[in-house]
């Protein structure tokens, strides 16, 4: 497993340079006016960034308010009995709630757990697995749909949240199985 891991690590170091250098080089070989193409494509970037602002503001301010209201703590107390059923330690619960909402918030939880219980503790490992294996669902929805001005997202959010919920369960069970 560790050889595969090292290989993937090294490979991933080369992906970005290969992309940034390789694509223009290949384009040159194909007689593409690379500089002009680059600039033409790049022009879109600013527009996209500006276009997603309303979507991102809408999502993030609501999440910020929810966090500041102390609702997370209340939710954690409320859900505590359910947790023992699925084997999740209550220390990890804030992570499971916050992960789909904010990236920086969940990073802070990992840092806090590592600080309190040590980086090798089971709860820290569970939280790290949750952090590493899923994306911030609300952020992804705001950015991707914002970029194309889609506001009726249909089943995107339920599907994303179901996947997140599954990831939280898998993280708990797999960590219990590997390290428990």
């Amino acid at each position: 497993m560790s050889i595969v891991r090292t290989l993937i690590d090294i490979l991933s170091l080369f992906v970005l340079p290969a992309l940034i250098v390789g694509v223009p080089m290949y384009g040159l070989a194909k007689k593409v006016p690379v500089y002009e193409s680059f600039v033409e494509g790049a022009k879109e970037g600013f527009g996209v960034a500006v276009r997603i602002i309303p979507y991102l503001v809408a999502i993030l301010f609501a999440i910020g308010m929810f966090r500041a209201s102390g609702a997370m703590d209340a939710l954690a107390t409320f859900l505590d009995p359910v947790l023992s059923l699925i084997g999740m330690p209550s220390e990890v619960l804030p992570m499971a709630i916050v992960r789909p909402l904010t990236g920086s918030g969940s990073a802070a939880i990992v840092a806090d757990l590592a600080n309190q219980y040590g980086a090798g503790a089971l709860v820290t490992r569970m939280a790290s697995t949750m952090f590493g294996s899923t994306e911030t669902t609300f952020y992804v929805i705001a950015v991707y749909f914002g970029a194309v001005n889609v506001s009726k997202t249909r089943h995107a959010l339920p599907a994303g949240l179901i996947a997140d919920f599954a990831a939280m369960l898998f993280a708990v069970w797999i960590c219990l199985w590997l390290f428990g």
Binding site: M1, A42, V48, G64, R125, Y144, A147, V150, T153, A159
Partner: protein
Amino acid sequence: MLNYIWAGLIVFSLVFALFFDVRDLSRDTYRNGAPLPVALDFEDRVFDPDADRQPVTLRIALDTYGEFYNTDARPDSAYAAQLRRTDDGLEIRLDADASLPAPLDQIRDTTNPRDQALQGTFVGAQLAAGASGAIGGMEFAPVRFVKMQAISAAALDFADTAAEIALGLIGILVLFLGLTKIAEDAGIINALVKLVRPVLGPLFPNIPKDHPAMGMIALNLAANVFGLGNAATPFGIKAMEELQTLNPEEETATDSMVMLLAMNTASVQLVPPVLLIALIGLEINKVYFAIVLTTAGSLTVAIIAAKLLGRLKRYRDTDPMRLASSTSSTQPDEVQS
């Protein structure tokens, strides 16, 4: 669904904030109007009644503190502070970097948010010139409706942060969208489409054969796999734009868009995010395997969820592809391959 969750977040933050604030008021968490018992110590100096400000050491008895605020938090044994003469009497002001226990940290943040220094009026026996210390109380400005203030501050803060994040993306977006354009012109995207068609085709049945959207999706997923979060976003946005060209109804998401989103939130990763490595260090080697297993499992669930939910009546009825083909037979139906 997003409508309800969004409104829910806002409404519930008000409800919870009110609940916590009322609870704080009824429990008198901040002991408004009651002075906290403290001892002042001038160390090797003495009290000078004419000085505008003088250094002083503030001591709070641990047990008294716990009893006074009814808390398990304990203050440090001594705090460096300034004693200032004001019109209202003597004011104690702690250094800005002092580490304060709850609820003093909350009192500091609420009563003096600008310079983050805890300040309060000294109440107690008249201090005589030349005294080496004094016992008395420290009275703070009243603290009420903390959470109420916090949610409005958070709303403003996060609106700011959101705009910052979006604008912060500009550089990377520009770089990768430029590269993507070269790749498109050089025919790399088309080659990629042919390569991934057998694997991704069944997941995105609404994308016509040889459409560049498939190539962009492949790039987006590949960037995710290699932990290039920065590159994944521009590719994902590009993929969404390509999918939007196939969308007959501008404001509504198509099944393909939902599938792409679901796959992105589950994010297949063979390389863990750099941020996580920064947080837990070498421990990453231990959880690496767990992350790969979890991510594979959640990706499977994401794909199944997106497919099955799409079959529900309420989501099938809003499918732009289906609507377009059933309502307008005059339009050329090129998207339905």
